[in-house]
Subunit: 219 residues, 2 copies
């Protein structure tokens, strides 16, 4: 049985309200749910945080759905390494109703405590599937978009809300083996001509893409 | 003379190419610019990072401009505490050409090494001014927008690109003393009706706001 750890009152409380199965919750103070009372030193010894919060929950890792829903948008992450970035992307996907994220096998584990921390409960509602991304892209018939440096402006392209959108790693962007499957390279245009900035943080780029894909979908 | 530290090849290289004044650069390997060669253990002892990079630069903190340009957009941050978030927002502002950020006096210092790290060189081009935000808002005649939970949809509002846009702290949102000056509360609508998510990360929200403010400004 594989387990993961979530910390923080809000985070744990959201996961307790989800479909996830709780193994145990530890707390330094009274909680509205069943928990083991421990003292601050004990919490420090089990917490992954520099400044532990009052609550730490242990949950079962759910079985990842292996079915990919081919009618829904897919966010694909190629070698994402930073747990804070993955957590933030999971939260953004939850916000915009994206339910499936494909991660290349060398990406950071979505049940890493720091990912769970920054996803703020959204990990219970967004399915992260780890797979050979190249194999998947080779066999899909869907529109494959990529967040690139020299693509078409996202503000001037019709963005299909059932497409596959690929984001590359923090340091190296999209790898060559993945890049060749991109049919529509897309770019967030740089508005500041005086700047030497050449890329945005991957979670920032993901936020802007999701906003642009979904902004016209509201009634 | 006040100094700050920047780490990482790309980061230091960008700052060396900027108007900032370099004090000294330390490196564990040869660099294209003048640097003091040190070994990995010495780098570990001066670095703020868990996994130090090969280059660490020390720069002078520039004099913050105290003039606020009243014709340009302002991003105002109320009690932002997370250095990674502030750095990401500085980078986003640089991307969209926003040159002035007002921070409440209790916000994290923009020359904190972690802020410098995640701003990736943009700290040289974006001016962060620390001030009594309440006093500023009391006296400004500009349109004051706030990122709130129950405002008008950003997708259905004309967003003035010379307005003041306020973002609240990670834990508590916009404080009451600031909230009363907001003339136009705005919200990124939640697209996922099945989700219990109640807010986005402040840097994600900032990314989506900036994209929405500037998307129509391109030729």
């Amino acid at each position: 049985m594989d387990l993961f750890v979530a910390e923080g009152e809000k985070n744990v409380s959201e996961l307790l309200d989800s479909d996830l199965i709780k193994e145990s919750v530890f707390s330094t103070k009274k909680t509205r749910y069943k928990s083991f009372k421990i003292d601050i030193d004990e919490m420090k010894s089990i917490s992954f945080l520099k400044t532990p919060s009052s609550v730490l929950g242990v949950f079962r890792i759910p079985k990842s759905s292996i079915e990919i829903n081919d009618n829904e948008i897919i966010i694909a992450l190629d070698s994402i390494k930073d747990p804070g970035n993955l957590g933030t992307i999971i939260r953004l996907c939850d916000w915009y109703g994206v339910r499936q994220i494909l991660c290349s096998e060398d990406s950071v584990d979505c049940f890493n405590p720091k990912v769970v921390q920054s996803s703020m409960g959204s990990i219970a509602r967004v399915n992260c599937l780890y797979l050979n991304l190249e194999e998947y892209l080779k066999n899909t018939s869907r529109d494959v978009y990529g967040a690139c440096l020299n693509g078409d402006s996202i503000y001037k392209t019709i963005l299909d809300s059932s497409g596959v959108y690929i984001f590359g790693s923090e340091s190296f962007g999209i790898s060559n083996s993945i890049n060749k499957y991109i049919k529509k390279p897309l770019t967030i245009p740089l508005f500041n001509n005086n700047s030497k900035i050449d890329s945005l943080n991957i979670a920032s780029a993901n936020a802007i893409f999701l906003s642009e894909i979904f902004r016209n979908k509201l009634n």
